[in-house]
């Protein structure tokens, strides 16, 4: 808890600095409308960052490079199901199931076949990403019914609906799962000491399987928001999101070798990165620079974590 508090306050200070700089560059940045609008951008990132964080916490080289491609491919599933004439909400459900299935394929390869996560998900990243291209033939799928835009663009009580209807409930549910159940504790335990976890009669394979499947499930849910927001299903919708998700997780205090970090910090980091990138967008900075900045933030954040947890980093 001590760690959480310090990381959260660190990020809060960073956030204030970013907001002050951005509002000096552009006075309209500080308006309530803009700040609320900004949270829209963060919804997709928040979901996949939750999945990514759990994967990294579960340790043993845990990382999921395929999240971006899973968001793209799940979105394509929604588009194809909609084009096939299905009701849009059933199509959205197919998107969730599709994401879960993709995550389970990763989970199978990693926890049952025993492949190192980084290479399994790297292969999956290219596989899913190019499957999305193949399925759409490179052309975005459009023609979504108007009511579908409610998720990504609507408001509930003045708050973007994807935040209040999806992100907050999912976050609370995951927090309950991770911090109030034995399953959640076992994620942390296999991340900090897999051997000890096995002696404690924890089914390491099963836990890891669920964690990687969850990451796919989160990507599936995120793809609904993404698709509803763009109102098209694009094969490159999730491009570069793996970098964003990993950066946010690490910036939020998740230790890259697993076992340490809190999801609360990750949410603060999502807020920080979202406000930063929307500020950069308002300042007309090319999006490829945002990827570069994320790259620097990623290395800096991992270094910061190692530095703060010196004792743990030596293992």
């Amino acid at each position: 808890m001590q760690l959480l508090r310090s990381r959260s306050s660190l990020l809060a200070i960073l956030l204030v600095i970013i907001i002050v700089i951005m509002s000096m560059l552009n006075p309209s940045f500080l308006s309530i409308n803009n700040l609320l609008g900004v949270t829209q951008f963060g919804a997709v990132l928040a979901l996949i960052a939750i999945g990514q964080s759990l994967v990294i916490i579960s340790g043993n080289g845990g990382i999921d490079l395929s999240v971006g491609s899973m968001v793209s491919l799940s979105g394509v599933f929604i588009g194809l199901a909609m084009s096939a004439g299905l009701n849009i909400w059933i199509a959205a459900f197919i998107g969730i199931l599709g994401g879960l299935l993709l995550g389970m394929i990763n989970a199978f390869v990693i926890s049952i076949v025993n492949m190192p996560p980084f290479i399994a998900t790297l292969g999956a990243m290219y596989l899913y990403g190019s499957l999305a291209l193949v399925l759409t033939g490179g052309n975005p799928i459009s023609g979504f019914p108007q009511e579908f835009s409610f998720i990504g663009q609507g408001l509930v009580a003045g708050i973007p609906s994807q935040i209040i209807l999806i992100v907050i409930p999912v976050f609370l549910l995951i927090c309950f799962l991770v911090y109030k159940t034995t399953f959640g504790r076992s994620i942390y335990l296999i991340g900090s000491n897999q051997t000890a976890a096995r002696y404690a009669n924890i089914n390491v394979k099963k836990t890891r399987f669920i964690v990687f499947s969850l990451s796919g499930l989160m990507a599936g849910i995120a793809s609904i928001i993404m698709t509803s927001w763009l109102m098209t299903a694009r094969a490159d919708a999730g491009f570069g999101m793996e970098l964003e998700a990993i950066t946010v997780a690490v910036l939020g205090g998740i230790h890259i070798f697993g076992g340490l970090g809190h999801l609360g910090g990750v949410m603060m980091a999502v807020l920080t990165i979202t406000i930063l990138s929307s500020g950069l967008q308002m300042a007309n900075v090319n999006s490829i620079w945002q990827l570069a900045i994320l790259g620097f933030v990623l290395i800096g954040a991992v270094f910061l974590n190692q530095f703060l947890n010196k004792d743990n980093s030596k293992k």
Binding site: G61, I63, L65, V109, V113, N114, M115, P116, F118, I119, A120, L122, G123, A124, M125, Y126, L127, Y128, G129, S130, L131, L133, V134, G137, G138, G240, E242, L243, I246, V250, I256, N286, I288, W289, L291, A292, L294, G295, F296, L298, I299, V302, F303, Q306, S313
Partner: protein, 322 residues
């Protein structure tokens, strides 16, 4: 004990060579224009860059690392080389600049991995994206075209019917085969990849090995960048975006263990030909190139699964005999 680490080609490497043979037979049967002299020369020409970079990637992976930033390094160096050509510099000087700038970029990766103790996958994921932005900035949003054909001789000039790049590749593989097999540095790379702790206890500076392998990879990518310019005559915006996938796939299909400590250049070369022939065959058979990455991605997963299953069987057998 020491002898078992000598990277002489074993059963796994022969298996990849066999796969290449099967692949050649397959495409000869099902693709009409595959088995022509001009197409085979084309394959050799197109494999050169991949082959050179894969030497370095084999080193990095054997030492227990990985590098996703090869494409970005290639891009940055290619832009530098392109501009150097436009300035009219001496070609030999340009090659020197290319190797040096690749070396520096690789060194940055290696230094962050070794000194800041950050996993290579994280570091190179970050530098890959930083590199992409760097290429974008250096190109200013447009292709670099209209380069004078300074290096075209590399691909157009032929000795015994084969382009010069083929001999460069052969030469580099010979040099690095010697280093892998007979120099202490080669042994140290294997030792660090097999068990960093015991390598450290054996007096091997594992940080230097990490930095050196990444730097060598960078330098080799620099050479490949010159070949890229020779082949393309221009630098496009998305230069090298699919390169990491192909390089890593070739090395893994060639039998290098992704967890480090095992692998050989013979296998890697076979892996390179496997990937290049497959890309060529896909084009000739008229399959949309959109499929390319899915096929290569699937191949990575299949190849690794195969290796892991075989490994388990070997371990089981060992247990039975003990």
């Amino acid at each position: 004990m020491f002898k078992s680490y000598v990277p002489k080609p074993g059963r796994r490497e022969y298996f990849t060579i066999l796969l290449v043979g099967v692949e050649i037979i397959f495409f000869s049967l099902f693709a009409d224009n595959f088995l022509t002299a001009s197409n085979l020369t084309q394959i050799i020409q197109n494999s050169a860059e991949l082959a050179i970079i894969c030497i370095g990637m084999t080193l990095v992976i054997i030492a227990g690392g990985i590098d996703l930033s090869v494409g970005s390094i290639l891009g940055v160096v290619a832009v530098i080389v392109g501009n150097a050509i436009l300035l009219g510099l001496n070609p030999i000087l340009i090659v020197f600049i290319a190797i040096l700038s690749g070396l520096v970029l690789g060194f940055v990766n290696g230094a962050i991995v070794a000194w800041l103790r950050i996993p290579a996958i994280i570091v190179t994921l970050a530098t890959m994206n930083i590199g992409k932005a760097l290429v974008f900035m250096l190109l200013g949003g447009a292709w670099l075209t209209g380069l004078p054909p300074v290096f075209n001789g590399l691909t157009t000039y032929k000795i015994l019917g084969l382009p010069v790049v083929f001999y460069i590749v052969l030469f580099m593989y010979a040099v690095f085969y010697y280093i892998f097999t007979y120099r202490p540095f080669g042994r140290h790379v294997y030792a660090v990849g097999t068990n960093p702790e015991s390598a450290k206890l054996a007096g091997i500076n594992h940080k230097m090995i990490q930095i050196a392998t990444h730097s060598i990879l960078g330098g080799l990518v620099g050479i490949a960048a010159v070949m890229y310019i020779a082949r393309m005559g221009s630098v496009e915006m998305t230069v090298g975006h699919d390169l990491p996938l192909q390089v890593i796939a070739a090395v893994i299909i060639g039998g290098t263990a992704i967890t480090g400590g095992r692998g050989s250049l013979v296998g890697t070369l076979a892996g390179v030909f496997f990937i290049t022939i497959m890309k060529n065959g896909i084009v000739i058979m008229g399959i949309p190139s959109l499929w390319e990455n899915s096929i290569i991605g699937t191949l990575i997963l299949l190849s690794l699964t195969f290796d892991i299953v075989m490994q388990k069987r070997v371990e089981k057998k060992k247990l039975m005999t003990v």
